[in-house]
Every structure is written in structure tokens, then in C-alpha cells.
């Protein structure tokens, strides 16, 4: 008598395992040929004759459906392997890992044919914007991801800046005056390329010139026009400093990285 429930339990377990196996193969895109379908059908075949209640019949049916699904996946697998779109998953992962985000972006853009659609500000778009802001981690987390540490705030003296080689022995006002004069001389009224103007031999000097130019624009000595389509940024000096009320409020962000500058100056 004690042996009777055991086979029932084993049958149930086998059937459950078959159902789970089919689900896992389907969900994880595993190779369906790793499953020996004929062997599993042989193992569950006797259970059907023994099944006496609806629950057992249902489990048996689910197992048969699972195995049939694996056979269907084997067909899909062969179709995919023989299609033009087949690519080894491991090789793909290696290639993804070896390419930087810019190279990956270029690959996508070259394969892209965007759908035309009239965009408008809608409820879903506003919700998307809200979700973005809510998904941003707090500043502490972002700073720790950048590998930066908090430090006590303090003031730097001119000597400190000289020692760090940041202001090259000149005051901020001297730099403003120097670069404004140079810009007036080189650009004239038509303006000139921003990139040509800030360019210097050393990367650090280029960053310093870009920093001073940003203040030239903010303080009313020059203006900047960016055209994202042509990737042009035009810098134009004013013959006289404009007052704050005459200045526009448009903000232009220009990223300066060594790699970015190398591409610009190529």
C-alpha cells in the first residue's frame, strides 16, 4: 500500500518537469535540439493509460503540448539557422563588447530608415519625460559612478591656478580682453568657426580658450550660432560689449573631449 502513492508522485513530477523544460527552452531561446523529444515521449506515454482523473489528464496534456512546442521550436531553429539573419550569439556578444557606443550607434544609423510621423507634445510624451526625471538617481549616486569623491569646498588663489598651470599667468580679465581682441582681428564682422578659434597646440590650452570664449559670449563680447545639421558652430564678436538686457537667453552646450576634438580637427 505504501508503494502506491510513490509512482503517482513520480509521474506528476516527470510531467511537471517536461512542462517546465518546454517553458524554459521557449523563454530563454535555448537550443531545442538539446532536448531528446523522442525519449521524453517514450517516458510519458505509459502515464496516459494510468491517468484516472481530470488533473492527471490535464498534466499529461500539458506535457504533450510542451513537447510539441519543442518540435515546433526545432523547426523554427532550422529555419533561422538557414536564414540570412543567422548569426552566432557568442560572436555577436564578443563584437558588441569590443565596440564602443559611438561605433555601435554608427552601425545602427547606417541601417536605419526612420518612419515619418508628425510629432506633437502629448500626454504620453509628458509622462515619458516625467518618468525620465524620476528614474534619474540622486547626485550622490551619479558622482560615485563617475568615480569622483566629495571634497571640502574652498577658494583657489591666483597662485594656486598658476601652480596648476590653468590660467597661464594671466588674470581672468586679461584673458577676456586678449581673446576678444584676437577674435575681432581674426573673425571680422562675419565671424569664424568656433573650432578654428579655440584650437591650440595643447589640449589644455584648447580647453582654456573654450572656457574664456564661453564667458565672452555670456558677458556680451561675442555670440555663438550652432547648426546641428551642418555640425557648424560660428563665433561672431561684437565690436562693443552688449549690455545684459540686449543679450539673448539661448544656451548652447558644446562638449570638449580629447576624442571629440581629434575628430573635429581631422
Amino acid at each position: 500500500m505504501s508503494d502506491l502513492p510513490r509512482p503517482k508522485k513520480r509521474e506528476g513530477e516527470v510531467l511537471e518537469r517536461v512542462v517546465d523544460l518546454a517553458r524554459i527552452v521557449r523563454q530563454r531561446s535555448l537550443d531545442p535540439f538539446d532536448v531528446n523529444v523522442i525519449d521524453l515521449f517514450d517516458r510519458i506515454r505509459p502515464f496516459l493509460r494510468k491517468a484516472k482523473d481530470l488533473k492527471a489528464l490535464r498534466m499529461d496534456l500539458l506535457a504533450v503540448l510542451g513537447l510539441s512546442d519543442i518540435v515546433a521550436m526545432q523547426e523554427e531553429w532550422i529555419e533561422h539557422r538557414s536564414s540570412l539573419l543567422y548569426i552566432d550569439p557568442v560572436l555577436t556578444l564578443v563584437r558588441i563588447d569590443s565596440l564602443d557606443p559611438v561605433a555601435l550607434a554608427e552601425i545602427l544609423v547606417h541601417s536605419m530608415h526612420p518612419v515619418t510621423e508628425k510629432e506633437q507634445l502629448t500626454g504620453p510624451r509628458l509622462r515619458e519625460a516625467t518618468e525620465y526625471w524620476l528614474s534619474l538617481p540622486d547626485r550622490d549616486q551619479r558622482i560615485s559612478e563617475l568615480g569622483a569623491d566629495y571634497a571640502e569646498t574652498g577658494a583657489l588663489t591666483r597662485e594656486d591656478l598658476d601652480r596648476m598651470g590653468l590660467m597661464k599667468g594671466r588674470t581672468f580679465e586679461e584673458w577676456i580682453s586678449l581673446l576678444w581682441g584676437e577674435l575681432l582681428e581674426r573673425a571680422g564682422e562675419d565671424g569664424m568657426s568656433y573650432w578654428d578659434f579655440i584650437r591650440a597646440e595643447a589640449y589644455e590650452d584648447t580647453v582654456l580658450r573654450a572656457y574664456v570664449v564661453s564667458h565672452l559670449c555670456s558677458l556680451g563680447y561675442a555670440t555663438i550660432r550652432a547648426s546641428p545639421l551642418e555640425e557648424e558652430v560660428l563665433l561672431k564678436p561684437f565690436p562693443e560689449k552688449l549690455s545684459m538686457k540686449d543679450l539673448g537667453t539661448e544656451s548652447v552646450s558644446i562638449a570638449l573631449t580629447r576624442e571629440g576634438l581629434e575628430r573635429v580637427y581631422e
Binding site: 555577436t92 558588441i96 545602427l108 525620465y132 546641428p228
Partner: protein, 183 residues
Amino acid sequence: MSDDTVSLRRKVKRAAHLLLFKHHMDPGVKGWELRRLLGPRYREVIQLLDAELKDLDLTVKIVSEGGEGEEAEGPSRSRFYVTMREAPTMSEAKAMGWRVDDLGALSATLTYILSRRGKAPRSEVEEMLRRKFPEWKVDYNLGRFVRRGYLAEDKDKILYLGWRTKAEIDQKKLLDLLLGKEA
């Protein structure tokens, strides 16, 4: 100009309005809708529109639920879109509102899913992306790709290629470029 020609011209204009302006949540128009609104000769109308859009570097693309083309389900169940005929430049893509690193994340996601027969568990995709992109952006980006239709996700958190990928991305070219088969 014959009555037939006048009628056809009117239908080409109507087709342009239908395809270029969004009428539903998602862009594009189903074949059966075009048949109802343009008549049984709607395929001829679409061909004429396609020829006219060529000069503007646009084309009418037909996508079935299963993928590009209409053989699988017949034209009436396929969806018709107007897309760019050529691929945009990187500058144009940026002007469309894309950030380069987001394009990179989408590129990695799509190629990964394509290599896994068109579907992959979200957890695996997240793990792959975390090796390249800031963690806080991975979940946000995947959510955005799903909302925009580049990906679809089922209740078991399996990611599939979405309708927009089928409409916009030349999947064969994407994989060839990834493997360096095409310069």
C-alpha cells in the same frame, strides 16, 4: 485629363495624407484601411505615391506582423509606412533627438536580440548593457525602446523586436555591419 486620371491623382493625395500624418497612437496605416478609403486599386495608388516620394528620399514601406514584406499575411493585414529611403547621417539622427549613447544602446540591444532568434530575457539584455552603459540608464532606455516600438515585452519579461524595428531597421545590414561584412 480623363476622369480616371483626376480620380487617381486625388487618391494619391489622400494616400499621402493618410500615411504622412498620424491617425492612431502609432504611425502607419493597415492595408484594409487603405482599401476601404482608396478603393480596391489602392496598391496602384500606393505605387504612384511611392514614385512621387522618391524625389524626396522617402518611400512607402510595407511591413507584415511577421516582418518586412507582405507575403506572410497578405497586403490587407500588412501595415504601410512612409520611411526615409536612404539611411540618415549621424548629424541628422542627432537632430532627430537621438543621443549617440542611446543609439549605441539600441544598436547593442537589437543585435543581441537578433542573434537570439528575435527574443531574449530582459534580465540578460540588462546584464549585457550594464557592461557598456551607466546602470541607471539601462532600465530607462529599455523602457523607452519598448514605448517607442523598437522592442516589445511580454508578461514573462521576454523582449522581442517591436513594430518600429521591423519598419525602420534593415536587420540584415545591421548584422552585416556589426560583423564587419559590410564597410
